[in-house]
Symmetry: C2
Subunit: 400 residues, 2 copies
């Protein structure tokens, strides 16, 4: 894992400090600053109930230049009414004042418990401390990554590099998220920085594609939070002629960005609440793309499949059951399933297989489940992780 | 709990014996016989992949008279191809031979592991033993109830009584099911007997209504099995003039049948894999009936809500999150939530409440969660249960 990822690209300063939101006293206020201003692209939760921070950030993200992103953990500032909106705006104002920018050029995100008013005085003091601590060092980048964590047991950081028009471009990102993760949204809170010069529309396009194939394909418990936010900031400090069209340079950048997002997604799956391993469900032969995605998600979300993965059990019956009940078209006579490279079901019938060998595949940190529906030629996938007693412990014993 | 429920109504003999399908040596072959023939109504899983038993029983259930129902546990006879169909038919043939009926007047059901061929010789011998043990005693009814169990830790049995045209009518039922329970299907395996005289169409109507408001409203893990079957047999032995129209007599019978199904549903929820308590989610103010049902199910299926219930935590934030992300229309300004009778959220804002009091409500065996969407005037509900470490233990450590 790359350390201090968000300060690897040129043009960014970061900080992460403790301002007293987390009872543990751990870091809970993260600030990133791009003194030269950055082009930004952002994606947000599709939950109908959203954090005040999402409400404010969604508007600010439309602006051409973004100078800072401020994030607090320990409190979601969701279901907090007008005070919540005021507080989210105050976070932008305080940040703007300290970094010398306009409030609407600041993005804000919050993560933590829902329905508690933000202790805004603490947050404002925290922003002042964070602004004073801003640095481009690896340590500062790591502090930032730590300060956005909630139930995560470790930081998620990833860095990618790509040559564009003879210039070295760096992309670095961090993400937080361990539970309440479902696809079809900009999952969790992710912040990516790059020194690429790229237009807002191309950055948005690259980010949508990267998130669509990575963060949006991970389901831990099928849950969308009120606060999910993914942001990419491009400082342009690498000095490449700006990417403004979907050409080869764009594709090189987009591929590198996707690599970073995929790396973060993998790290999130493996640090999911209670998770000990992850898997990728690939559904082929679907009648439509949407049905392929639906079936893949149905399998990855199926608690009985997740439990079987946890137990290392090649219980293909549960996979077939999930596929059969999710409402997608299939041809039972062509239905097939592989765990890793080993066929366990084909032409609608079980295949004899070496259960110990398949168990070994499942017990690895990462394996694939491939399903052929026999109803068309569309393919899609989803990442999932196992369901353990640890998930229950974390979520039953956690108290509001 | 009523013991030996399926032999309480006049006209039925039952048996439950062990034929060697369960490694534990427990009872795994259940037989019910109605010497005078019964009117039958049945509902089956809507999973696209179904057990051979479902395939066969679906056809046989169309017949006017049913003389027997044979059920094995320990093996689902699902994903077993042509041999599976042959075996399911053989179960009907063997039963028919022993009770003196036609094979197509016998219903068959199987429950247990998917994808293993049925050891049909054992099953045939078991049917012979069961036929020899048939009795109308309470003990025989209990044996039947035990023989359909899989991961259930206890029998589920319920009895209802109703006067119809001056005759005492009895309705008795048993159900098995502990996991892989989702709504929108005839959940699990349920067998109900009654001595009412009632036409097939009225019996089907009453059964559909009863299952629709009980078994179909329970979600343990949102999963539909390949084998779910619910059957009601009416012997007519009570001697009432047959119910043939949706009149007051029909309504009295239907209400009693629903009572039995609701009782069985409650017992299933409380014996769900790892469950320690259950809850009812009532969604009001939905734009359509379907959206009310969808939102209720989304909350009942939400792992984070289930964990909070397990922990006795009044975490209304997770409830609101589930509602917000399930895709139904809502008016955030009117959104409200009660746990038991205590308001925790109203007009889109948290309400101050006594957390200890709400915890006490949640820690009861049964509580309600009521949600107002503010988007219309449709209401629906769903039953759920808590998610515990026990669920994971049962489903991760269970090996194929």
């Amino acid at each position: 894992m790359a350390k201090g990822a968000v300060t690897q690209a040129a043009g960014f300063l970061a900080a992460g400090i403790a301002c007293g939101l987390k009872r543990s006293g751990k870091r809970d206020l993260a600030l990133i600053h791009c003194p030269g201003g950055a082009t930004a692209a952002a994606m947000f939760t599709t939950n109908k109930i959203v954090s005040a921070a999402v409400d404010v950030a969604r508007r600010h993200a439309r602006n051409a230049r973004i100078y800072a992103v401020v994030i607090n953990s320990g409190n979601a500032n969701a279901c907090t009414g007008q005070k919540g909106i005021k507080d989210a705006i105050a976070m932008c104002q305080t940040t703007a004042k300290h970094v010398g920018a306009e409030p609407h050029h600041v993005l804000v995100a919050s993560t933590g418990i829902i329905g508690h008013p933000l202790p805004i005085a603490k947050v404002k003091a925290g922003i002042a401390s964070a602004a004073a601590a801003l640095a481009s060092s690896t340590a500062a980048g790591q502090d930032f990554a730590r300060a956005i964590m909630t139930t995560d047991t470790r930081c998620k950081e990833a860095v990618g590099a790509v040559r564009i028009s003879g210039k070295d471009v760096t992309i670095g990102g961090t993400a937080k998220g361990a539970g309440m993760i479902g696809p079809n949204m900009a999952t969790t809170i992710s912040v990516i920085t790059t020194d690429a010069a790229i237009s807002k529309s191309m950055l948005q396009k690259a980010m949508a594609a990267a998130v669509g194939s990575s963060l949006n394909k991970l389901t831990v418990d099928g849950h969308q939070s009120t606060n999910d936010t993914a942001v990419v900031l491009a400082s342009g400090a690498a000095g490449n002629p700006p990417i403004t069209r979907p050409d080869a340079r764009y594709r090189a950048f987009a591929a590198a960005l996707m690599g970073v997002c995929e790396d973060l997604t993998r790290q999130m799956a493996l640090d999911a609440e209670g998770a000990t391993r992850m898997f990728k469900v690939i559904v082929a032969g679907a009648a439509t793309q949407a049905e392929a995605a639906k079936a893949a998600r149905a399998v990855a979300d199926y608690d009985l499949v997740k439990c079987a993965v946890h137990g290392g059990d090649p219980n293909w019956g549960r996979i077939i059951c999930a596929v059969g009940s999710c409402g997608v078209r299939l041809d039972e006579k062509k239905l097939a399933c592989k765990i890793g490279d080993i066929g366990v079901f084909a032409k609608g019938r079980p295949i004899k297989f070496d259960a110990a060998k398949v168990s070994d595949v499942i017990r690895k940190e990462y394996h694939t489940i491939t399903i052929q529906l026999g109803a068309g030629n569309h393919t899609d996938f989803c990442y999932g992780c196992d369901l353990s007693r640890g998930y229950v412990t974390i979520n039953a014993d956690y108290h509001t």
